[in-house]
């Protein structure tokens, strides 16, 4: 077929009805401290990786809660597991464990067509 240069634009809306909470639930069950994130960004402010690459550890929470599994998978590769974020966190979240749990389970839940 002739290519007219048009494509179907993917909807930007967060379609919450399509949200797959399995990965989130698994992470929260194994690391309940992650439930109480305030999104203050203290973790990102002190992050050794965030200075150099576009890595935002606070956004892990958001990506997980919005089901953005594809982006999440590439993002967590940037974490060096140094644990500075945990020293700063006002809610005492074990972020290193959160990253490890996501790493462990993400392949199970990644959408097939991605």
């Amino acid at each position: 077929m002739k290519d007219f240069g048009f494509s179907v634009i993917k909807q930007r809306t967060i379609d919450y009805d399509q949200f797959d909470g399995r990965l989130l639930n698994e992470v929260l069950e194994m690391e309940p401290s992650f439930k109480v994130c305030l999104s203050c960004g203290g973790c990102t402010a002190t992050c050794s990786a965030a200075d150099l690459v576009s890595f935002n550890v606070r956004r892990m929470n958001l990506l997980l809660r919005r089901g953005e599994t594809v982006e999440l998978e590439s993002e967590i590769q940037k974490c060096m597991l140094c644990g500075k974020c945990m020293l700063v966190c006002p809610r005492g979240i074990n972020l290193r464990n959160v990253i490890m749990l996501i790493k462990k389970s993400i392949l199970k839940y990644k959408p097939v067509n991605s």
């Binding site: 305030l38 999104s39 203050c40 960004g41 203290g42 606070r58």
Partner: protein, 328 residues
């Protein structure tokens, strides 16, 4: 003091036992009150004038050693070896200011130009010296919200309630004094809960160009010129942010403090997880402790503003009066 006044008016004989040299508590440390910059002297003098007309006694620099209830009477022993008998007891031990040295990463008492909101309050008086070096005023100032509040690392999970509006108030006052200074507030949430608080926040943005950045400071470090490098995430743009400031103000929260903790032990009444005293419920019995005849007034029960404290103290007086009528 407000409770003592109201109870005296109701015809009761009241004795106030005060730990400090003078009554008034933390009110003695502030200069201007939010949200309308009322000079604290006005409020304090008005209260004192009202109090001085009343006939009740005050024991200064005295602490309660023990309280025992026998045959419906409270036997009270003080540090001055005095002994009293009372029909009812009101605990009004107030709060302590969070010791900012416990947030070592912000450098209070380590770096020269890191101060707390309590320190700043004194500097805001007309003769207060705001300079950071000889003849040099700070050009850029940052406020850090929630220092010692909402922070597991400080051991305080609760919100201290008044720091948000204190930050806005002090930022405006600084801007009035130093019109050329840039002022930034680093916040997690801004809780403008009270009457005219939101309006003051709006005024800070509209009239005084105070900048609000949503992100919690991770650390501050001092440079060789004594200015401070602060780090936070600008969470709304999603990127780490660093900034050099000449003065850093820590908006310190409230803690129950030693006075309240020891009052709980002496009166055998319970504390919340926060350390503040437990009230029977939060709606109808916010002045009642777990012990019959022991009542609670003011910020020993939770972080409170000056006006909330006055109201809570008055309601305590009413509850005591009702209780005495019924039981004595």
């Amino acid at each position: 003091m407000e409770t003592a006044c109201a109870l005296t008016d109701a015809g009761h004989w009241v004795t106030v036992i005060e730990k400090e040299e003078k009554v008034g508590g933390k009110l003695n440390n502030w200069s201007y009150l939010f949200p309308d910059f009322t000079p604290v002297d006005e409020i304090r003098d008005a209260l004192q004038e009202k109090h001085s007309e009343k006939d009740f006694s005050i024991l200064n620099q005295t602490e309660v050693r023990s309280i025992n209830r026998q045959n419906g009477k409270f036997n009270i022993e003080t540090s001055g070896e005095q002994k009293f008998e009372a029909d009812a007891v009101v605990v009004a031990t107030g709060y302590e200011i969070f010791d900012a040295r416990r947030k070592e990463e912000y450098g209070y008492k380590i770096y020269d130009h890191v101060i707390t909101s309590a320190d700043l309050e004194k500097l805001l008086l007309p003769d207060g010296d705001l300079s950071v070096a000889a003849g040099q005023n700070p050009k850029r100032i940052a406020f850090v919200h929630c220092v010692g509040s909402r922070d597991e690392k400080s051991g305080n999970h609760y919100c201290s309630k008044v720091c948000c509006i204190t930050g806005v108030k002090q930022a405006i006052e600084l801007k009035k004094r130093l019109p050329d200074a840039e002022i930034y507030c680093f916040y997690m949430d801004l809780r403008m809960y009270g009457k005219n608080f939101e309006e003051l926040y709006r005024e800070a943005q509209e009239k005084y160009d105070i900048q609000f950045i949503r992100g919690r400071l991770s650390e501050a470090s001092e440079k060789i010129d004594k200015s401070l490098l602060i780090k936070a995430e600008d969470t709304l743009s999603g990127r780490p942010l660093k900034m050099n400031v000449d003065l850093l103000v820590l908006l310190v929260g409230m803690e129950a403090g030693k006075g309240t903790t020891s009052a709980a032990a002496i009166c055998s009444i319970g504390c919340e997880e926060s350390g503040f005293l437990k009230t029977t419920d939060s709606f109808l019995k916010s002045n009642f402790s777990e012990q019959e005849g022991i009542f609670l007034a003011g910020s020993c029960t939770a972080p409170m503003s000056v006006n909330d404290t006055i109201l809570h103290a008055r309601s305590a007086a009413q509850e005591v009066n009702n209780w005495l009528k019924k039981n004595i």
